[in-house]
């Protein structure tokens, strides 16, 4: 049984090529993935991300529960609307999912998790909630639209009410606010300015159409992938999964080690891994000659082999880039080799981030 988002008919009307994405029929592109990618880097594009799972965690123990559940510390969130990116681990220290948590109050949080991991995430959260006074409520009655690009905010502003515009005026990155019908957040998955907007199903189509009329270009999952990869953002299932430590997935920055007595799930395993210092790490790879780096290609280094976790052609840079998990001794600036189509090709090691706000950053 294939799920369809509330915007399904709009995609077909725009000539989308639809694909199955973990049980959801989603647009891969509306003609040219590269043109959609460039629209986001240069102007404004939008993505239907209604397949993503919104979960509200509420109750007197909501804060205590989340301090146990995820590796970052929600106690750091004190301003209403502030968001946090983090990971949820199993007991063995593997990543069950990555997610964003919005703080409204110490008894009221909103989580946005991946759609591909929806069932296991909900099952895990429910299991871990034993003994905590909380409710876990999925919110399927909403659609979600990510509007991204240097002109995104200005174009969205033309559709908002005076009250909504006042509320988002000067809002810093990684905040969200509910005003009227819309939950508007300064988050994204492209490395550009913009919003992710949670919208009730009943008005989603109308809002999407108004964005089209305002000159925002519909973009599919293909462009979403090349944009997030240029921005060096992980994709769950490729760059990390339940067998991978956050330390090996460029997610160490999302671990809050202090205070030491916060007993989050997986803490003992991560502490041991940190002490050993032998976990591999996620780096960027750049190939300036012809060819495209792809997932699962072998990376040959003097310290042993690694693997490309995701690779693509970068439309912004005009050559291929990749994220790769390699031995920890490999350094930024090193030259390593990738086995591509039976040949070894030299590539440069960079930090795992390639493009931000339209500009090369390595």
């Amino acid at each position: 049984m294939t799920n369809k988002t509330v915007l399904h008919a709009k995609h077909l009307a725009s000539g989308a090529k639809m694909v199955d994405f973990h049980g959801w029929e989603m647009p891969i592109n509306y003609g040219s993935q590269i043109e959609e990618h460039n629209a986001v880097r240069q102007n404004a594009g939008m993505f239907d991300v209604s397949h993503m799972t919104i979960v509200d965690v509420q109750g007197s123990d909501a804060k205590a529960f989340l301090r146990r559940l995820v590796i970052n510390d929600v106690a750091k969130l004190t301003v209403a609307g502030k968001a946090l990116y983090t990971g949820m681990l199993n007991e063995a220290g593997g990543v069950i999912d990555d997610l964003i948590i919005y703080f409204f109050s110490e008894t009221n949080y909103r989580l946005v998790v991946n759609s591909a991991t929806r069932e296991k995430d909900l099952a895990w959260m429910t299991k871990q909630s034993a003994g905590f006074d909380i409710t876990i409520t999925e919110r399927p009655e909403f659609g979600m639209i990510a509007v991204q690009g240097p002109e995104a905010k200005a174009k969205v502003a033309t559709l908002l009410t005076t009250e909504q515009n006042a509320a988002v005026e000067g809002m810093k990155p990684f905040f969200g606010v509910q005003v009227g019908d819309l939950f508007i957040a300064t988050t994204g998955y492209t490395g550009e300015d913009g919003y992710e907007i949670i919208v009730p199903d009943s008005v989603a189509e109308d809002f999407w159409q108004k964005l089209i009329d305002a000159g925002v270009i519909p973009c599919g999952l293909g462009a979403r992938d090349t944009l997030r990869l240029e921005a060096g953002m992980n994709l769950y299932g490729l760059d990390m999964d339940e067998t991978v430590s956050p330390i090996a997935a460029n997610m160490a920055w999302t671990i809050s080690w202090e205070p030491e007595d916060r007993n989050f799930i997986g803490r003992d395993v991560l502490t041991a891994q940190k002490a050993e210092g032998t976990q591999p790490k996620l780096v960027g790879l750049v190939l300036e000659e012809k060819g495209v780096l792809r997932s699962h290609q072998v990376v040959v280094t003097e310290f042993g082999n690694g693997e490309i976790t995701s690779g693509t052609f970068s439309p912004t840079l005009g050559h291929s880039v990749a994220l790769a998990r390699v031995p920890r001794s490999v350094k930024v600036g090193d030259t390593v080799e990738v086995e591509m189509r039976k040949k070894l090709v030299k590539v440069q090691v960079t930090k795992p981030s390639f493009v931000r706000n339209g500009k090369k950053v390595f």
Partner: protein, 129 residues
């Protein structure tokens, strides 16, 4: 359904072949194939002068999505390659049967053309995919 010109011959591996009537054929990939692959980013062409045999993988079309081998539909010598693809690989997407052609082969045996599919045969082959 994509366009499948009736004057061309086809391989099940999605190459089209146009008989130029002078012992050479022009080869490209079909509109259906470029649609499956998505935006083309590099095309690695064979070298002029290469001797190729039917079924050899002689060219790589690399799109945002995947790298795809392209096979020689007939045996012979590569006599010309489409150098415009060096700077404009997207021609394969925008004009698969025209400006997006890949290479020309001087055939060893024109009789090999009879082994290829006609438009209807190719249409049936992709309907089965």
């Amino acid at each position: 359904m994509s366009n499948i010109p009736s004057e061309l011959k086809y391989a099940t591996s999605h190459e089209w072949v146009r008989n130029e009537g002078d012992g050479t054929v022009t080869v490209g990939i079909t509109e259906h194939a470029q649609d499956l692959l998505g935006d083309m980013v590099f095309v690695e062409l064979p070298d002029v002068g290469d001797e190729v045999s039917t079924g050899d993988d002689i060219c790589v079309a690399e799109s945002v999505k995947a790298a795809s081998d392209i096979y020689a539909p007939v045996s012979g010598e590569i006599v010309e390659v489409n150098e415009d693809l060096e700077d404009s690989p997207e021609l394969v997407n925008s004009d698969a049967f025209g400006d997006g052609w890949l290479f020309k082969i001087k055939m060893e045996d024109a009789g090999e053309l009879d082994n290829l599919l006609d438009a209807e045969g190719y249409k049936n082959s992709i309907d089965e995919d």
